[in-house]
């Protein structure tokens, strides 16, 4: 809000009015500004706001101050808004209603609608940048003000510098966190960068010394992104899958133990991809990697049930144990459905059913398929 400056509300020589909209309230960041509802005018050069009743009260920002802007949809009891992110106020700016503000953005709240058209015209103006072609006659600034900043020395100077620094960090933080998509974009760049460095290391395997390689790798680590195993870094085919299998082996042990030694492949897929973040795995690669568990002597196994359901299970997780537990539970209760069994064991229904079917296949259980559903009984035949 501190970017606004007072104006007489008249357009300059080369300036033309683009659109105006009544019933707009200004927000200083997330707080309501201490101004009433007014008219907002968009010109080729400026964004102007004028109080609806008191026409003396008129403020503006040059469009060149706008970094970017976005829409905020209306909600229950909330008008639609346009959020406008602004560059920090120039040191020599003219006086405005706010001396300073902790926000680097303002919001226009459209009480009487019109935000769609306004947003469209604003987009046009920002892309065309017409203010650059026909600069308005520069207001005469007193020379003293321009150099005011450098002249300040002593404690005031230090204070001002600290304040500037604070504003800078403030801006960086809000830029990074306010807009998640921006953050994602940046993260992607980082991954891209780390990958390109990794590739360079690989290409120059012979040319650079061991020390340099280590140094490069430590750079990668310091960026906070360990080089994820990707097709690019490990080539295609079996080698890639082998590395992937090893990685899966590392990260799946703990969750598997937590879940009683068995997880459906879909569950594993979700878990792994959530952990990987950007470098998502394809289901096919995942299955191929899981198939290599056995040949790599990892403590995990991919198991395909007769129904086609695939699970990853711990090697120590023996079939006999599973069957015995199924028989014990069924004998104890007299009969069980897959749902009841799943509840008893804290497993997914799918896996519980597979266990019951397995026990049935071994001839330890038998089924009762009635309108009430599929129940399993101890095999008394």
């Amino acid at each position: 809000m501190d970017r606004f400056m007072w104006t007489n509300g008249l357009l300059e020589m080369n300036e033309t009015l683009v659109i105006h909209q009544r019933g707009v309230r200004l927000y200083d960041g997330d707080d309501k500004a201490k101004l009433d509802v007014g008219v907002v005018l968009l010109s080729t050069h400026r964004l102007i706001w004028r109080d609806q009743k008191n026409h003396e009260c008129c403020i503006c920002i040059p469009l060149s101050q706008i970094i970017f802007f976005e829409e905020q949809a209306a909600g229950i009891g909330k008008s639609a808004k346009i959020v406008i992110h602004l560059h920090p106020a120039p040191a020599n700016r003219e006086p405005g209603p706010y001396q300073n503000s902790k926000f680097s953005y303002i919001k226009l709240s459209f009480k009487e609608h019109g935000q769609i058209e306004f947003y469209r015209r604003l987009t046009e103006e920002i892309t065309q940048r017409r203010w650059e072609n026909t600069p308005v006659s520069q207001p005469i600034t007193p020379a003293g003000l321009k150099t005011g900043r450098t002249r300040a020395v002593g404690i005031v100077g230090i204070e001002r510098k600290l304040e500037e620094k604070r504003k800078e960090t403030d801006k960086n933080i809000s830029e990074a966190f306010e807009d998640l998509s921006k953050l994602m974009e940046k993260a992607k760049e980082m991954v891209e960068l780390s990958r390109s460095i990794a590739n360079k290391i690989k290409d120059k395997q012979g040319d650079i010394t061991e020390d340099e390689t280590i140094r490069f790798k430590s750079y990668l680590l310091s960026m906070g992104i360990a080089n994820p195993v990707t097709r690019e870094t490990h080539g295609s085919g079996t080698h890639y899958h082998m590395q992937l299998a090893k990685q899966l082996g590392d990260i799946l042990l703990a969750p598997l133990e937590e879940r009683g030694g068995m997880m459906a492949l879909t569950e594993v897929y979700c878990l792994v991809n959530r952990a990987r973040g950007m470098e998502l795995l394809s289901p096919e690669d995942m299955v191929n990697a899981c198939k290599l568990f056995e040949s790599l002597k990892l403590p995990l196994r991919l198991r395909v049930f007769d129904s086609g359901v695939m699970v990853v299970q711990l090697q120590s997780h023996s079939e006999e144990e599973m069957i015995t537990s199924a028989i014990d539970n069924v004998s104890e209760k007299g009969s069980l459905t897959a749902e009841e069994f799943a509840k008893l064991l804290g497993l997914s229904v799918l896996l519980a059913k597979e266990r019951l079917l397995l026990a049935e296949k071994m001839g330890h259980l038998c089924r009762d398929d009635s309108v009430e559903g599929l129940r399993f009984y101890p095999n008394l035949f």
């Binding site: 001839g363 038998c366 089924r367 009635s370 009984y377 008394l380 035949f381």
Partner: protein, 174 residues
């Protein structure tokens, strides 16, 4: 005398065809013996599959379970393989059920004949199944087609000869 149901009759999985081969075999064996002893108890010779499904034989109202038509046909097919059943139509909706196979009946009749010293005597079929002399015998009241099959089995063994008489069929035992 009331029919004594086997223990399986009150076991719900008994009414679902078991997918496990071993289990199914045992289950079918139990059904076969149940079906035969039930028909014998009720003296049933022909069975309609749909009717049978609603009869107590395949429908246990107490535990609200009944065998599906497909499963009944599997059971009957099993009986057919053992020689206890014959389908009466192609669609397998009706069948002749023989709780004793023809040879077994033939053996029973021949035992009775030789016990009473009536070898080389001629009987009419009616005499054998409905005569006063056979009243206490198991084959008393046997349906004619069944009796005829039993005698044909004996004839094949050379123990009897079926003779066609004016008003029906007769048999001579050797």
């Amino acid at each position: 005398m009331s029919f004594e149901w086997p223990w399986q009759y009150n076991f719900p999985p008994f009414f679902t065809l078991q997918p496990n081969a071993d289990t199914r075999q045992k289950q079918l064996a139990a059904w076969c013996s149940l079906a035969l002893s039930y028909c014998r108890h009720r003296k049933l010779y022909t069975v309609d599959v749909l009717e049978a499904q609603e009869s107590p034989m395949f429908n246990n109202k107490k535990i609200e379970r009944k065998l599906s038509v497909e499963a009944i046909q599997v059971v009957f097919e099993e009986l057919r393989k053992k020689g206890n059943l014959e389908w009466m139509d192609k669609n397998k909706t009706r069948c002749l059920i023989m709780w004793r196979r023809p040879e077994e009946w033939g053996k029973l009749i021949y035992q009775w004949v030789s016990k009473n010293g009536m070898v080389n005597t001629v009987f009419t079929l009616y005499e054998l199944s409905n005569g006063d002399d056979t009243e206490s015998e198991e084959f008393h009241g046997l349906e004619e087609w069944m009796l005829l099959r039993a005698l044909q089995a004996l004839q094949a063994d050379g123990k009897a000869e079926i003779i066609t008489m004016d008003d029906g069929k007769g048999v001579k035992f050797f």
